[in-house]
């Protein structure tokens, strides 16, 4: 199930909230969360829900072992075993097909290519449980002894399928002693609705444009059209992903959890280094804390470390060469910035840095969008005028006019408009009071709009005549 579906909004969520808040009994509430998380997950993965349970169970025991044998070989073995088991889950379900294909291509063998459908969220929850075991091993957090509570942490549906990657250490206290408050519930509702609006109003529309302009015959497209397609993909992926994070964070507040932010206006970054401090922050932190620094960080063979980290970051996004190249693209940019580029950029006006970043990110999205590298190459050639049907297309003009306000809004909200407005309001008590009253009607309006758009997207006229 996904948050941006009518069934979730109007059936799953109200039932969940009613049951959750009927009693104050902590165990009951935890059980409700587990139950609904299992329903939520098995809704989309009726079979592979067993993987989730398996992954949670083994790491529950790994955590206990790491604690029990602290300072001994047993603790190391617990971490090793957790890594081996979790990564082999990932290898089997996410990468085995990719691996077999490449071995076949290189050696000319014809190994059978397994084709599992990727279990939803496996990349997220395996990383969460790995981080738990390592944190316990390092003594950063006490292990959770109650298996139910631990399972609640792993399976919590708000961040289960699309992040953020929540570290156990960050919510350990709240797993045991959280407190749901009216303030958090109210703010959580607002945050959730903002995320929903980002997803439904912006990301879905942008996604339709991206598909329309990038999935056709690129060589017959105009340069501006393909740039627009990639811009729309950039808008889609930011709003989609950060909208999901907003909804996860908002749901967390409702249930008394406080996660870390996952996005911080990445498109205003001035360098690739800066971009990755703002984009999918929980992933960057994971690789920093569990790969980069253990490998030696900045202290030894830094560039090799960077290369490995960015190779893995790319690979994490999908079992395909285009994602690896996408990761390495950022790796090289960051190395380049480290070597000389940052010094150059620092001397130039800030706007150059912004333009540089947007340019390299857009090129990155070309690699990210096309799993078929031949298509990506085609796309790049059209973008730089080496192919395609000229620069401009009159139909693009019409589309830009027809969606002018939407486009302005979509681009404006990539900038930190909301925090600025918020800071302004907070500095004036009178405004703050008005804003408090406006918030509810605004929320209801967002709910109504999103509902209509979701129903509208199920509008699927049966047009017999189309061939």
């Amino acid at each position: 199930m996904v948050f941006s579906s009518l069934l979730f909004l109007y059936a799953f969520m109200p039932l969940n909230l009613i049951l959750y808040f009927t009693t104050k009994n902590r165990n009951f509430r935890n059980m409700v969360l587990i139950l609904f998380s299992l329903i939520f997950y098995s809704w989309g993965e009726p079979i592979w829900v067993v993987l989730l349970i398996y992954s949670a169970m083994i790491d529950y025991f790994h955590g206990l072992m790491a604690e029990k044998y602290r300072g001994h070989l047993g603790a190391k073995l617990a971490v090793l075993s957790s890594l081996v088991l979790n990564l082999s889950l990932l290898a089997a379900f996410k990468y085995s097909g990719f691996l077999a294909e490449n071995i076949n291509a290189i050696t000319g063998l014809s190994l059978p290519v397994p084709s599992f459908s990727l279990p939803i969220g496996i990349s997220f929850y395996t990383f969460q449980t790995i981080s738990y075991v390592i944190d316990v091993y390092r003594g950063d957090v006490k292990p959770q002894r109650e298996i139910g509570k631990f399972f609640m942490y792993v399976s919590l549906y708000s961040q289960l399928v699309a992040g953020p990657i929540v570290r156990y250490a960050d919510v350990a206290r709240e797993v045991d002693y959280r407190q749901e408050t009216l303030h958090d519930v109210s703010a959580g509702i607002s945050r959730f609705l903002i995320g929903l609006t980002k997803k439904v109003l912006i990301a879905n529309t942008a996604g339709a444009f991206a598909e329309e302009y990038l999935n056709g015959d690129l060589l017959k497209s105009a340069t501006a059209v393909v740039w627009f397609g990639i811009l729309m993909f950039a808008v889609q992926i930011y709003y989609d992903f950060s909208g999901y994070s907003d909804m996860a964070i908002g749901l967390g507040w409702i249930f008394g959890f406080h996660f870390l932010e996952n996005f911080n206006y990445p498109y205003i970054a001035k360098s690739a280094t800066d971009f990755w401090r703002r984009w999918h922050m929980s992933l960057g932190q994971f690789f920093r804390d569990y790969v980069y620094i253990p490998m030696g960080g900045n202290r030894k063979h830094q560039y090799y470390n960077l290369l490995v980290v960015w190779f893995l970051t790319g690979l994490w996004h999908g079992a395909s060469w285009n994602f690896i190249l996408w990761g390495l693209w950022f790796g090289f940019l960051i190395m380049g910035e480290r070597l000389f580029l940052r010094k150059v950029l620092d001397k130039l006006p800030a706007v150059i840095g912004h333009l540089y970043l947007l340019f390299v990110v857009m090129l990155g999205w070309v690699l990210f969008y096309f799993t078929d590298l031949g298509k990506a190459w085609e796309c790049l050639r059209v973008m730089f005028g080496a192919a395609g049907s000229g620069f401009w297309d009159v139909s693009l003009e019409i589309v830009l006019e027809n969606n002018l306000f939407w486009l302005i809004a979509a681009i404006a909200f990539c900038l930190p408009v909301y925090p600025r407005v918020r800071a302004f309001i907070e500095s004036r008590p009178a405004l703050l009071n008005i804003a408090g009253w406006v918030k509810t009607p605004a929320n209801l309006l967002m709910l109504a709009t999103n509902t209509a758009l979701l129903v509208g997207s199920s509008y699927n006229p049966f047009l017999y005549y189309r061939f």
């Binding site: 996904v2 060589l219 280094t273 395909s320 709910l447």
Partner: protein, 520 residues
């Protein structure tokens, strides 16, 4: 946050990690109000969605809405059961039609319409036939491996593909709606135009198939081909000409490839001469009865008949009519400018029978072929009552001429004029007739074969292949009683009263053809 690459070795500490908490700002009452109202709104709609009767059919979409699936373990484990619930739930959501219309209105204010122009759907590549068949690009893939299959998994990558599997049903039927250009001049003149991309390879194939007809049929049988241009050709403003291919060039090209033994009917010139008249609908992709009349006049003259004068017909009007282009786009300008259907009574006395889909052996006698009860979005079905595998009319003329019309829905309107000149007229729909036309020509003693298609159909493999298959289909005898017995009066009256509901209303019965419901 720490600087990633400038990170120095400091131990991780949860306390240093800044967690975000909602700002403390609003008053207590405001928070209660926000929580209570938002929750009540969700709950109320949730209960209404559960309790109110759910719609099962959508008139605008002309389709049955999804139904709740029936549980079985196999579907459950494959995920079909839960996704079935999800699509049924959103498909039959309470107040669906109003919410759909609201969402269409909302999208209408996403921007501005300069000159009243808007486009729905991807504009097809224009094939004017000038450039040579494009060479397959040499794909340079640095890795040497084209890994995953197509790039259709748009927002691929772990987070998106894992997160947004909800995209899956958006295009469940796989029907390709062409790009629709809408022009609202603001003075009550508003039209939807399907943009014609053209496909010369397909057009050449169409000509080739017709040439096969010429070689397969005896020389004594006349063959006529009428390829009908569409509204786009005449109404697209010159500023936007580049969005569409020239239908005239396409038709000329196609006609140029026809065997000289096939008579091409120049519907184009007849329509062009009257392009300022109401010859095409604005909210529907068909031509009007008047447009069909002009094409019919050309045919009649070519085939040696004196066409009727339009003024002599007895006429009726059906309105309002919001057709397929409105359905496809939900565009508010089209909604506010509905069409009207002016139809003419057939000026001779004749009898008719229909053959329904899935039941080729039974003739269903009818009072006539004008379905005067057609209304609303199906008003074009006034012509022939919609698309049927076979319709046969028998007049009291004795001129020795018998016609076979092979058509898609554009042919419906023009057939109702043509049949006035023949002793018998067999009208078959190329998509639904399952018999063999050569046998039909023999059995019925056909003297004139008329193939009518709009230019989109003549550029579309699906249609062309269907026309080709008609040559090789197994023989299918005409309905048993049809040729001998005269139509029985009482059945025709009954037929008119019952009114082909499955076609016109679209709501009932007829599922035997794999779910294709045809509306004019």
């Amino acid at each position: 946050m720490e600087d990633f690459e400038g990170f120095t070795h400091r131990e991780y500490s949860p306390r240093r990690r800044k967690k975000i908490r909602p700002q403390k700002d609003h008053g207590e009452i405001q928070k209660i109000l926000n929580t209570a109202l938002c929750f009540t709104a969700v709950l109320m709609f949730g209960v209404l969605a559960w309790a109110l009767p759910q719609p099962t059919y959508s008139e605008y979409e002309r389709r049955d809405l999804a139904r709740m699936p029936i549980f079985n373990w196999q579907d459950y484990f494959s995920g079909d059961y839960t996704s079935g619930i999800e699509s049924a739930y959103s498909d039959t959501f309470t107040y669906r039609e109003s919410l759909v219309r609201f969402s269409a209105l909302l999208k209408g204010v996403y921007g501005v319409r300069v000159g009243g122009v808007t486009i729905h759907g991807a504009v097809p590549p224009v094939d004017e036939g000038e450039e040579p068949e494009s060479e397959p690009e040499i794909s340079v893939s640095p890795s040497g491996a084209d890994t995953e299959s197509g790039a259709s998994g748009t927002a691929s990558g772990a987070q998106s593909s894992e997160a947004s599997s909800e995209e899956e049903d958006t295009n469940a039927t796989g029907e390709q709606v062409n790009s629709i250009f809408i022009l609202d001049k603001g003075n009550g003149e508003c039209m939807g135009l399907e943009l014609f991309g053209g496909n010369r390879k397909a057009a050449a194939y169409y000509a080739e198939v017709l040439n096969k007809y010429r070689s397969a049929l005896p020389d004594s049988v006349n063959i006529y081909d009428m390829v009908v241009p569409t509204h786009c050709e005449f109404a697209l403003p010159s500023k936007y000409q580049k969005l569409a291919a020239s239908e005239k060039d396409n038709i000329d090209y196609l006609y140029g490839l026809l065997d000289p033994g096939i008579t091409a009917i120049d519907a184009f010139s007849a329509l062009e001469a009257h392009k300022s008249e109401y010859i095409y609908f604005n909210t529907d992709h068909h031509w009007t009865g008047l447009g069909a009349y002009y094409a019919y006049s050309v045919f009649a003259k070519t085939a040696g008949f004196m066409p009727y004068n339009y003024n002599t017909y007895t006429k009726h009007v059906i309105e309002p009519f919001r057709g397929t282009l409105y359905s496809a786009t939900q565009d508010n300008s089209l909604y506010n400018n509905p069409d009207s259907v002016e139809w003419c009574e057939i000026p001779i006395s004749y009898s008719a029978y229909y053959v329904y889909k899935g039941d080729p052996g039974t003739p269903h006698y009818a009072d006539g072929v004008m379905a005067d009860y057609a209304t609303g979005g199906n008003s074009y079905s006034v012509y022939l009552g919609g698309d049927f595998p076979l319709i046969c009319t028998q007049s009291d003329l004795h001129n020795g001429r018998k016609a076979l019309i092979i058509k898609e829905s554009y042919g419906n309107a023009v057939s109702t004029y043509i049949l006035s000149h023949f002793e018998e007229t067999y009208i078959i729909d190329e998509r639904y007739y399952t018999g063999n036309v050569l046998d039909l020509v023999n059995e019925a003693g056909i003297t004139d074969v008329i193939i009518v298609n709009n230019v989109f159909a003549a550029n579309t493999y699906f249609h062309i292949e269907n026309i080709e298959d008609l040559l090789t289909n197994p023989s299918l005898a005409l309905p048993a009683s049809a040729q001998t017995s005269a139509p029985a009066e009482e059945t025709s009256a009954e037929q008119a009263a019952s009114g082909e509901p499955e076609e016109i209303g679209g709501a009932s019965g007829e599922t035997s053809d794999g779910g294709i419901r045809v509306t004019g």
